[in-house]
Symmetry: C2
Subunit: 313 residues, 2 copies
Amino acid sequence: MTIGLDMMGGDFAPLEAVKGLQLYLSEPGAPANIFLLGDEAILRPLLATHMIPEDRIRVVHAPEVIGMHEHPTKALKEKQQSSIAVGFYLLSQGKIDAFISAGNTGAMLVGAHYSLKTIEGVMRPTISTIIPREDGRTGLLLDVGLNADCKPEHLNQFAVLGSLYARHILGIQQPRVGLINIGEEEGKGNILAQASYPLLKENNRIHFIGNVEGRDVLADKADVMVCEGFTGNIILKLAESFYEMTHRHSIRHEYLDRFNFEHYGGTPVLGINKPVIIGHGISRAPAFKNMLKLAAKMVKSDLFDQMQIAFRN
Amino acid sequence: MTIGLDMMGGDFAPLEAVKGLQLYLSEPGAPANIFLLGDEAILRPLLATHMIPEDRIRVVHAPEVIGMHEHPTKALKEKQQSSIAVGFYLLSQGKIDAFISAGNTGAMLVGAHYSLKTIEGVMRPTISTIIPREDGRTGLLLDVGLNADCKPEHLNQFAVLGSLYARHILGIQQPRVGLINIGEEEGKGNILAQASYPLLKENNRIHFIGNVEGRDVLADKADVMVCEGFTGNIILKLAESFYEMTHRHSIRHEYLDRFNFEHYGGTPVLGINKPVIIGHGISRAPAFKNMLKLAAKMVKSDLFDQMQIAFRN
């Protein structure tokens, strides 16, 4: 198994990416070999300093970098030697089995869209986030920003994609699906939520448990929570800001650590035919390590086969 | 000045309402006299126990109670002797200057809608919430659930209502208005946010500063944050749950206390011609006290005159 890692993506690249790689490779039984995409002249000394074993990696020279604020489509077109462009090329050609970057999110999404295929039957690929929870387990929230406006059918598909991810990656056998809403009973909510409820209720590919409110997001109510990407993105960023706020004010408590989103690595793009993981711009070594672990798990799992089967009909 | 207080509304009524009343009346210079709406036989002994001064209150017998889960319209129609129905009757007749209840939210909204007049020019009344902030100040978020689906014109009006409230009640001279969105730049977001941005930008009754993201909600970026009631309600309930979660896990810190929403009392309905404040079902004494203070401040302020002037043209 070979995973491509963008060494130039994120606010603390390439140093934290190298450190994350070191962490990953030092774990016993870590299955993947890694293709490192970036500027060879910058990477080589760093790899030597951190004693990265040569037999587990290969440096693929990609001298250009797409900046965090560049226009995604334009940058991908003009910088074909960038780490992101090279990563998607290798992935589309089957030279790597998964691709990870903490770089320009827009460029990652555009790259995934144009270089890879959407799974047949999927209307809209989606991005999700792991939601830390009070009970110590994790939930999945989707969409978190790729699809700002949605139709009920989209939310219904997100529920299937999220359930498959929860089962095959998070290890939850019968994931409970909740619809993010502003009331508990059926019939509550905005037009989208009202129209989505009956579709979810009748969908026999998922285990729908009804509406979940804002107060339930961090609680143990549903394993997979679906909404359009506008609400999902606001939830994600607000939840992230809680931990950062307590951290800034030196409020330390073991319990709060589970709300450190860095522990959860990046967010996979779901609905496309290969594993692509987008890291947070502020990713540090543990996030890079966790993204490598997640990518390896996705490659080894049945997830992609199961997604294809689910949407075939 | 006379404020009507529903003594039967909320999970801990009437005891916590009586205690809150006691707290309010014991503060020096508290300007309002209070009409207490509820079952006289239940209230009298409680008032005596808590030594509520007879000259500051009047008990208005309202023997019926609208339960927290009753259907609002049906309950209001059938229970005309309920504390909520009587409260709105007194308010509409000018016998009281403001009305407060921590009871059935739906019944409060229906009552406000049918008993009172919407300010001329206001398309949709709205409910807001005070948002505690990292810098120790408070922001205002609206709508938080009354209008689950909105048009850009509604958000534009919420911005004006929120700005007037921030100026005349929160004491912020030039409130900065932010549009809740999923990106910083103009053009980001869902269709509603994209269409609302130019309206807000061109609105010379407000001081618009652009988009605010989920991570900015608790930060010192904007004083008034506008969105449709779906997103707003999710934000409110998620933010409330964060404090409750730290509290449950015995994580105590002075800084976290400002996220105890109870300190902020209830949420006023804006866009109608009289002060109506809806309390949280879990309101305890400090919340009741704060709602009384807020109601008195609203009655004394220029808010209602200024709202009428703002929407006249």
